[in-house]
């Protein structure tokens, strides 16, 4: 009786180990694709920004609400955030520990999209010879508003956001300066770059709802099934009027 029990425990333990191994081995599911633009590109030209308020902002800069990658074929969209919306269940993920660096350079935010996990540190640096005042305008997280009068590309100030939400950031000294923060509970998100592609890595196999978010064009959702060992492909196409 006792022996049987012992074997039972041993078997169960082995099974658990085996299962864990299987799950781990399968945690390399990938979703990749690109975010395509369809429509009249002339309507979404970047316009130059009038930085005459501060003579220290010397470098010409352009608007960023829509940045199209015209060199790619088809034309893709920059700064779209693609993330898993549903399908991860109640799983908890430890926050990323390496700080996300946000630099204020040439009187604009670099990068323009701040996609971070909850409790992931965001380090804010000032790369300009002028005073900046970063103002976060969240709904759920606490509002942050502080100035950085000095050029400081090393130490900066660190913040953490506790709750999942997208919200705006602006500079109170240079009204044109804007950026967006997106806070996620999980590490499965990506921002499209100059080639308009994204890749979500390390996903367990399963069915997911994937969301693409753009500050101007809104959101778009798609169902994607991820199988082990084979990247799932999904393109999003925004057709703004």
């Amino acid at each position: 009786m006792q022996k049987t029990f012992r074997y039972g425990v041993l078997c169960a333990f082995a099974a658990t180990l085996g299962l864990a191994g299987v799950v781990r081995a399968a945690d390399d599911g990938v979703i990749k694709g690109k975010v395509i633009f369809k429509g009249d590109t002339d309507k979404f030209k970047r316009s130059p920004i009038d930085t005459s308020k501060d003579a220290n902002c010397k470098k010409p800069i352009g608007s960023w609400d829509v940045i199209l990658n015209k060199k790619t074929d088809p034309i893709t969209i920059k700064n779209v955030v693609v993330s898993i919306k549903e399908g991860l269940g109640d799983k908890k993920f430890p926050p990323k520990t390496e700080p996300f660096k946000l630099t204020q350079k040439d009187c604009q935010y670099d990068p323009h999209i701040i996609a971070v996990m909850e409790d992931q540190p965001v380090k804010i640096l000032n790369g300009d010879d002028t005073n900046h005042n970063i103002h976060f305008l969240p709904k759920k997280n606490t509002e942050e508003n502080f100035s950085q009068p000095q050029k400081d590309e090393v130490t900066g100030k660190e913040l953490k956001f506790k709750l999942e939400e997208p919200f705006k950031v602006k500079c109170d000294v240079h009204p044109w300066m804007g950026a967006h923060v997106l806070v996620f509970t999980h590490p499965y998100f990506a921002v499209t770059g100059d080639d308009g592609t994204f890749e979500l890595k390390g996903l367990p196999p399963g069915k997911y709802v994937v969301e693409a978010w753009h500050e101007k064009f809104g959101t778009m959702k798609a169902d994607v099934e991820v199988a082990a060992g084979k990247p799932a492909e999904k393109d999003f196409t925004f057709e703004p009027k």
């Binding site: 030209k45 970047r46 316009s47 130059p48 920004i49 009038d50 930085t51 005459s52 308020k53 501060d54 003579a55 220290n56 010397k58 010409p60 800069i61 352009g62 608007s63 609400d65 010879d129 002028t130 005073n131 005042n133 508003n145 502080f146 100035s147 009068p149 602006k170 109170d172 000294v173 240079h174 009204p175 044109w176 804007g178």
Partner: protein, 292 residues
């Protein structure tokens, strides 16, 4: 002996103060700061350059007042010092219990009152009336100044000299910082800039507005200061002197938040040609921004 040590002590203290101050001031002579645009005019511990046609009235009152104040203070101080020395307590000296009839003090007080009345009715009220009511009729430039945390926006009415309507609901800080409405014909040729340009020798009427909190539009070289109060539109005017073309500073004089100290803009006093060139540059249809 005791008196002597006091004198030495005072001399030492005074010496330390003078030496300390000079060394501090010399060691930390302030290097000029790069503020982007070279600012014209002379600035020092007294009133700065005056480029306004009417600014002398402000300066005159300030100067007259200071001469009066210094005169009163010195005269009064001499009497004070005289009393301190003459009527110090010493053996054999007892205070005179009979109060003096100090007619001069009465005369002094009456003189002060009369002088203040002269300042008030001669130098202040008429000038204030001119500032407040005699708006220029010689075809002035019209500009709207819209303050916000922490920047100045200058809204020009364009060729039709009419301002378009503003709608706070459609404000977009990147593309439409004032909320100008596209469907208003008066606003078609309006333009907005972060720089203030005026033409030298021409009067300017400025309407002052604020988007959020109270700011104060202060141009030291023009002797112009006016609070920008949200919910109100307050007109002021000034006229620059001839041959004053250059760049000058606009500051915020009312605490408006974190970056009150950096709420600065540049006023360019242009020759008519420079102004036309600037308008042409600002109103040119924007070219597409291309990243290099």
């Amino acid at each position: 002996m005791r008196r002597c040590s006091w004198r030495i002590f005072l001399a030492v203290v005074f010496g330390c103060v003078v030496l300390g101050q000079t060394s501090v001031l010399r060691a930390q002579a302030v290097a000029p700061k790069d503020t982007g645009v070279k600012i014209d005019g002379e600035y020092g511990p007294f009133l700065p350059t005056d480029i306004s046609v009417d600014g002398y009235q402000v300066d005159r009152l300030i100067n007259v007042l200071h001469v009066f104040m210094i005169g009163l203070f010195v005269g009064w101080g001499l009497f004070f010092a005289f009393c301190l020395v003459k009527y110090r307590q010493r053996p054999g000296h007892r205070a005179n219990s009979v109060l003096i009839k100090a007619k001069p003090s009465k005369y002094l007080e009456i003189a002060v009152a009369i002088f203040e009345a002269v300042l008030l009715f001669g130098f202040s009220i008429p000038v204030w009336a001119r500032v407040k009511s005699e708006f220029p009729t010689d075809d002035p430039m019209r500009v709207r100044v819209v303050a916000e945390q922490f920047a100045w926006n200058f809204h020009y009415p364009g060729a039709d000299k009419k301002f378009g309507k503003l709608n706070p609901k459609i404000i977009d800080l990147v593309k439409n910082p004032l909320g100008r409405m596209d469907d208003d014909p008066a606003g078609k040729d309006d333009f907005v800039s972060g720089e203030f340009h005026v033409i030298e020798g021409r009067s300017v009427v400025v309407e002052i507005l604020s988007k959020d909190v109270i700011h104060s539009f202060f141009v030291p070289v023009l002797r112009v200061k006016q609070d920008a109060i949200p919910g109100m539109r307050i007109p002021i005017w000034f006229k620059t002197k001839e041959k004053t073309a250059g760049a000058y500073e606009i500051g915020c004089a009312q605490l408006c938040g974190n970056n009150h100290f950096s709420m600065r803009a540049v006023m360019h006093v242009d020759t008519p040609e420079q102004y036309a060139a600037w308008v042409k540059k600002v109103t040119a249809p924007p070219e597409e921004f291309k990243e290099d």
